[in-house]
């Protein structure tokens, strides 16, 4: 039920992000969703892509530091309170969220929230117990 996210270390200097996106374009990689974490000195680009292995390979070959990070995707109706319904449960079960980002599905009916947890296994168990839709990687990459 887990999803693999590609994390790319970006040095804080002009042109780094452009270099990364160019590599993705040249290799015909489609980004499903992304987020960029930044600090004063560096950034980390987080990508959900259609082809995890290929992305990993081509970015490495281009000289980037890349890692595959386990995240969890949860589908909720795209309406007020959607995200909150998840947070309520996580809070009650004391599941810690490291970071999250989201996108709206093409149909426009549902939103998908990508979570990074300290303990993804436990989080999935809790989410399933509370009848949330956890989207497996295989499905998410093909969205």
């Amino acid at each position: 039920m887990k999803v693999e996210q590609i994390s790319v270390f970006l040095e804080n200097k002009p042109g780094t992000l452009e270099h990364a996106t160019r590599i993705l374009k040249e290799n015909n990689i489609n980004i499903r969703t992304l987020s960029l974490a930044e600090t004063a000195d560096f950034g980390i680009l987080r990508l959900i892509v259609n082809d995890v292995e290929k992305t990993n390979k081509v970015l490495r070959e281009a000289g980037f530091r890349v890692s595959k990070t386990v995240v969890v995707a949860v589908e909720v109706p795209d309406q007020p309170g959607g995200l909150h319904s998840i947070m309520e449960v996580l809070n009650r079960e004391t599941i810690n969220v490291e970071y999250l980002y989201a996108f709206v599905e093409k149909s426009g009916l549902n939103a998908v929230i990508i979570f990074r947890f300290d303990a993804p296994e436990k989080a999935i168990e809790v989410l399933l117990k509370h009848k949330f839709t956890v989207v497996p990687g295989s499905k998410l990459y093909e969205f």
Binding site: S7, F9, L10, E11, N12, T16, A37, T39, D41, F42, I44, G63, F64, R65, V66, S67, K68, T69, E98, R116
Partner: protein
């Protein structure tokens, strides 16, 4: 003004006779008590008895910083620990720093020599001295401290740091003498002005500066900032600490080397050949009177030139020009000496970084600022890949640099392979 007229004005012939007598004694002693010297003299097939004149000195092998490290921590001590009353050490991780030891008599000698240096700057018991050299394991602060007390002047052992407090004390106590690194002195002046203090109207009249490379332009800037006379002091931790040589108020050109306690030679840094007096080269020192830690022909790495002409102050001891460069890759950052290899050793011990690094040194205001660029390790990023983990690494590097080298760099993590391309481990943008 002289602290020890007799020895400071000893005629050159008498001085040389004293040097050879003391040299022969120290050579016999190190050969008998320091395993390293016994071996290195044997390897060079030379016995102390063969050294009959100062000319013969060049037959002896050099002692290098590498030798000091190889004998870390106590291998070069010439007396048992029971006779040692003080230890000092340079910065660095285990095996990469050097340890210096002193007997009671060594401390007395050191105190006398720093007292000489202070007297050369015109100090008397009526002075109050703001001593902003660092107190601690490095020998700067404490070395001068005892000389100041010996002169009978009042010492404020303020050490380095705490700039605002220092400015308050300069105003409230009214010291007449400032001892500091040149960059810290300029920093005090800048900060003082920023606090609205008229730094030219303090009670200060003279300053003693050293432990960094500094130019005449910097001297002019300091003299102007505080409205004082600025004098240059020379020290080598390996020889003793501050007080190996000192500029006199009368001459203000070049520092008199205390030749009754040290022999100085100039060598070609690459060939090791002894150069004629007055030519520029690396200075090599031999300690004549040290009991605990005598070094024979120690290569200081300092590039300078001896001034054989007599000085108008009346001292007969030879002078050395101010040191403006070095023969090795040693860096002095805020008065602390470090080597790139020490940085490398620190990084190697930290999981998650590659040993490829770049030190970028520049001035921010008057003070040295260091940026340390480090490549993110493959294994580390592959496993973690998060902001939190990378920031933990950054903090660890900053802390270890501070703990081992007393340097607080700004750490910047960079992409792989970027540093190899430039090929430079150190970029020093400072002008001295």
């Amino acid at each position: 003004m002289m602290y020890n007229d007799e020895f400071e004005t000893l005629p050159r012939e008498a001085l040389k006779a004293l040097q050879i007598k003391r040299l022969q004694q120290v050579l016999q002693r190190v050969c008998a008590t320091v395993c390293f010297y016994k071996k290195s003299f044997a390897a060079a097939k030379i016995s102390p008895d063969a050294i009959r004149s100062l000319e013969d000195l060049k037959k002896l092998p050099f002692t290098t910083r590498e030798d000091l490290r190889n004998n870390y921590p106590f291998g070069l001590f010439a007396v048992p620990m029971s006779n040692i009353v003080r230890l000092h050490a340079s910065s660095g991780t285990s095996g990469r720093s050097s340890v210096f030891s002193y007997t009671r008599r060594d401390l007395d000698t050191w105190t006398d020599l720093t007292a000489r240096s202070l007297a050369a700057a015109g100090l008397t018991k009526n002075d109050m001295v703001h001593n902003a050299f660092g107190y601690g394991l490095l020998p700067g602060g404490l070395g001068l401290h005892y000389g100041i007390e010996k002169i009978g002047a009042s010492v404020i052992p303020i050490s380095d740091g705490n700039t605002k407090r220092q400015i308050t004390i300069l105003q409230d106590f009214g010291p007449t003498v400032l001892c500091a690194t040149p960059s810290f002195a300029l920093h005090l002046a800048e900060e003082g002005r920023a606090m609205g203090v008229d730094m030219q109207s303090l009670q200060l009249r003279v300053g003693i500066f050293g432990a960094e490379l500094w130019s005449n332009a910097t001297r002019d800037a300091i003299e102007d900032a505080f409205n004082i006379k600025a004098l240059n002091i020379f020290g080598l931790s390996e020889m003793m600490g501050p007080g190996i040589a000192m500029e006199c108020l009368e001459g203000r050109r070049g520092m008199h080397i205390y030749e009754d306690h040290f022999i100085v030679e100039t060598i070609h840094p690459e060939t090791g050949d002894v150069l004629p007096e007055g030519e520029e080269g690396e200075l090599v020192f031999t300690s004549l009177t040290r009991e605990a830690f005598p070094l024979v022909r120690y290569r200081s790495g300092e590039i300078s030139r001896l001034i054989p002409e007599p000085c108008r102050c009346g001292r007969t001891h030879i002078r050395m020009e101010r040191v403006l460069k070095r023969s090795d890759d040693m860096l002095t950052i805020r008065g602390i000496n470090i080597f790139p290899a020490q940085v490398e050793a620190i990084l190697k011990a930290i999981d998650g970084v590659e040993p490829d690094y770049q030190l970028i040194i520049d001035k921010v205001g008057a003070l040295d600022a260091v940026e340390l660029h480090v490549e993110v390790g493959e294994k580390f990023f592959g496993e973690a890949g998060g902001v939190k983990e990378l920031q933990t690494i950054e903090k660890r590097i900053v802390k270890d640099m501070k703990d081992y080298l007393s340097i607080s760099p700004r750490v910047k993590l960079v992409a792989p392979q970027t540093l190899k391309e430039s090929g430079k481990k150190v970029i020093d943008r400072r002008t001295i």
